[in-house]
Subunit: 379 residues, 2 copies
C-alpha cells in the first residue's frame, strides 16, 4: 500500500485542530491528540491517526457522546468505579488514570475501573502516564467479541489487551499486547493483500483452523461462528488455556469490577453510546522501599536480557518498549508514514469540519486511495 | 508408568506426620501438607506429594532452612517486603498471603512481596486462600532459569507462573499457569517415556526448535544454551513477545519489588539456602461496591463461556478451575494415584524419619520402582 510521510507535528496540529472543531475543549483535544500521535510514533499504526475517520463517524452518529463527562459512581481511598457515559475513551481513560495516580500517591496503590466507555487507543498510553511519574502502571480494556476460547467456535472474548509499565534506564519496561494471537487489524491487512494467514491465528465458521482472513472477518462481522484464537492457539498442548486465562483476567479487571458489559455483551449503538470497560492500576514502588534502587535493579536485569546469547546472531534481542523508542526516534526525524486511504480520510475530515487540509498535509494526490467502508467492517 | 491409588487422608497423614518428625511444628506441618495435598487433589501431580523426597533432601542438605522464620523488612499499610531466610516456601508464602489479606481487609487492596524463599508449591493455593475469603487473589513466583526469551538461546527467565482467583458460583475463577509453553516437568515425562516432544516447546543448544527432551533437560542442567520456550513459542508471529512479557511481569512483581534475585541469579546452595521470590496481591471486591452482585455477574459470564458453541461437539468447554474441582471430587472418592517411584520414595522417607510406612501405604511392592536421582535433574 502506498503512503506519504508527514512531520509528526503537522499530524499533531491536524488532529488537535480537528478535535477542537468537532467540539472538544482545547485541553480535551490535546489529550486525545497526544494518545493518537504516541501510537503513530511508537509504530502502532492501527491505533494512531488512522482512526480519525472512525472516531469522527462515531461522534457524528453518537455512539461516542461528545458532551459526556466521566462520573465517579463508587469510590474509596484506593479505588473508584467510573461511568464513562459513552464519552471519548481517551478522555475517560486519562481521567481515570489520573485519579488512580492521585490515590496511589496518597495510599501507595490504587485501582480505578471504568464502564460504558469507548475505544481508548493504546492501553500503553495510560501505563506510560503512570510510568513517567515513577509508578508501576497497569491498564486493561475489553472490546467487541472477536476471540474464541479453548474449544469454542463462538467468539465471546475481546482482543483484551493487558498493558504494564515500570520505570527503567535507558528504556522503561513497557508491555502492551492483545491476549489474542493477533489483533483484528492483522487479519484486515492479510485480507487487503489477499494473502493466506499463517495457521494458528484464527478458526472459521466450521470450528477448524482457517487461513482465510476474509472469511474470518465476515464471521466476526456477522457474529456467526469463527474468530481469532487466544494466545496459545486452540489446543492446550500449546497453551491455549493460558491465553484464555489472561483474556479472562482482562474481562474481570475491566468489566466485572466496573459492573459493566463483558465483551460478548458489547454494544456500540448509533445514538446510544458504547459499553467498553477499562481498568487502571497504579503501584508506587516506594511502598516496597528504595524506588531508585528498584529501578536500577530492573535496568540491570533488562540489560542482561538484551545481552543474552542470540538464537540467530543476526537478529537482535529486545526488551519490551525498546522497539517503540527506536521507532519514535526514527519517526520524529523522518516523519510518520500515512497510507493513502488514511490521507484521503484526513482530507475528508478537514473538509467536513471546516479546516484547510493543505495547511497540514500540503497538496497531495489521493486519487489512488482505496475508500474503506467502516460500516462494513465494524457493526 | 505403574501407580497405586491411596486415600487422600492416608497421604495427608503421612505428609503431616513426616513434616512433624522432620522438625516442623504441628501448625507448620499442617500448612505444608495442605498445600501438597491440594495439588494432588487438583491433579497437579508435579507439585503434590511427589515432591516430598525433594523437600526432605533439601532440608537435610540445608538449601531449605528448617528453623527460618519469615521477616518483614519493609512495611506500609498496603504492602510488605518479606525476607524468607530460605525457610520452607509454603510457610513463608502462607504467612505472606495471610498478611496481604489482613492489609486488604483494612485498606481494600494490598501487595506483599517475598525474597530468599524456597519452592512454594502451586501458586494457586495462595490465591485460593484469598478467594475463599471473598477476595480477588493474585500470586506469582520466579524459579530457576529454564525459559528462553524471544530470539535468545540462553535461558534467563523462570517458569514464572501467574495465578489469579476470584469467587464465582458454582466454581471460582481459578487460573494458575506457567508463562512458558510447558513446565519442565512435561519435558521430564517425555524424557522418561522416550517420546519426541511436539515442536514449539523448546529449543536446543543450537538455538533451533528441538523435539529431544533429554537434550533440552541436559542443557538446563548444565546451564548451556537451550531451554523451554515462553508462551507463544520463539517467533513474534505467534506471540512469543507476549509470553516473554508475562514472564517479565512475573519477575517484576516477584523479584524486582522484593529486591531479590531474578531467575537468572537464582541460587539453591547446600547449606546456604535458596533465593526464590514470590508476590501476593489481594483486592477486596467491596472497594468497587456490591461484592455479591460482582460475584453473580462473574458467575453468569463463566456460564456463558461454558455454554458457548463447541468447535468439536464431543469436547466440552471448561472455565478455569473447573477441571480441578472435577478432579478433586473424583480423587476424594477413588483415591489419589501415586506412581511407583514416588511410593518408593515415601517408604524411604518414612524409614529415614522413623515412621512405619505400612500405617499409611499398606504393604506395597515397590520392586518395580525406578529410582530418580534428583541431584542429576536439579542443581
Amino acid at each position: 500500500m502506498s503512503y506519504i510521510k508527514f512531520e509528526s507535528e503537522k499530524l499533531r496540529s491536524l488532529c488537535y485542530d480537528a478535535f477542537c472543531k468537532i467540539g472538544f475543549s482545547a485541553e480535551e483535544s490535546e489529550i486525545i491528540t497526544d494518545v493518537l500521535i504516541l501510537a503513530d510514533l511508537y509504530g502502532i499504526k492501527s491505533h494512531g491517526t488512522q482512526r480519525l475517520a472512525r472516531y469522527y463517524q462515531s461522534i457524528v452518529n453518537k455512539s461516542i457522546n461528545l458532551d459526556a463527562k466521566p462520573e465517579i459512581v463508587f469510590e474509596t481511598p484506593v479505588s473508584a468505579v467510573i461511568d464513562g457515559h459513552s464519552g471519548m475513551g481517551q478522555l475517560t481513560a486519562h481521567y481515570a488514570m489520573t485519579l488512580a495516580m492521585e490515590k496511589a500517591r496518597n495510599v501507595g496503590m490504587a485501582m480505578v475501573s471504568v464502564r460504558n466507555s469507548c475505544h481508548y487507543g493504546i492501553a500503553g498510553y495510560y501505563t506510560k502516564m503512570a510510568c513517567d511519574a515513577g509508578f508501576i502502571g497497569i491498564s486493561t480494556t475489553n472490546s467487541d467479541s472477536i476471540a474464541v476460547h479453548t474449544n469454542s467456535k463462538q467468539a465471546i472474548l475481546g482482543s483484551n489487551p493487558i498493558a504494564f509499565a515500570m520505570p527503567a534506564d535507558p528504556y522503561p519496561f513497557w508491555f502492551d499486547a492483545a491476549t489474542t494471537v493477533v489483533p483484528r487489524g492483522k487479519l484486515e491487512v492479510y485480507n487487503k493483500e489477499g494473502k493466506p494467514m499463517p495457521e494458528g491465528w484464527a478458526i472459521g465458521s466450521d470450528g477448524k483452523v482457517s487461513s482465510d482472513a476474509e472469511h474470518v472477518l465476515e464471521c466476526l462481522f456477522n457474529k456467526t461462528d469463527g474468530g481469532i484464537l487466544v494466545m496459545g492457539g486452540n489446543t492446550e498442548e500449546m497453551g491455549s488455556h493460558k491465553g484464555y486465562g489472561y483474556s479472562m483476567i482482562c474481562e474481570i479487571l475491566s468489566a466485572i469490577t466496573s459492573f459493566g458489559n463483558t465483551s460478548n455483551h458489547f454494544a456500540r449503538v448509533k445514538g446510544q453510546g458504547s459499553t467498553l470497560c477499562h481498568s487502571f492500576i497504579v503501584i508506587d514502588p516506594k511502598i516496597f522501599g528504595d524506588a531508585e534502587l528498584m529501578k536500577k535493579n530492573l535496568s540491570v536485569f533488562m540489560q542482561e536480557l538484551r545481552d543474552a546469547r542470540r538464537a540467530d546472531e543476526n537478529v537482535p534481542i529486545y526488551t519490551h518498549g525498546e522497539k517503540e523508542i527506536i521507532c519514535m526516534k526514527k519517526m520524529l526525524k523522518e516523519g510518520i508514514p500515512v497510507n493513502m486511504s488514511t490521507v484521503a480520510e484526513m482530507i475528508d475530515l478537514c473538509n467536513n469540519v471546516g479546516l484547510d487540509s493543505t495547511k497540514y498535509l500540503g497538496d497531495v494526490d489521493v486519487s489512488s486511495a482505496k475508500v474503506i467502508n467502516y460500516d462494513k467492517l465494524y457493526k
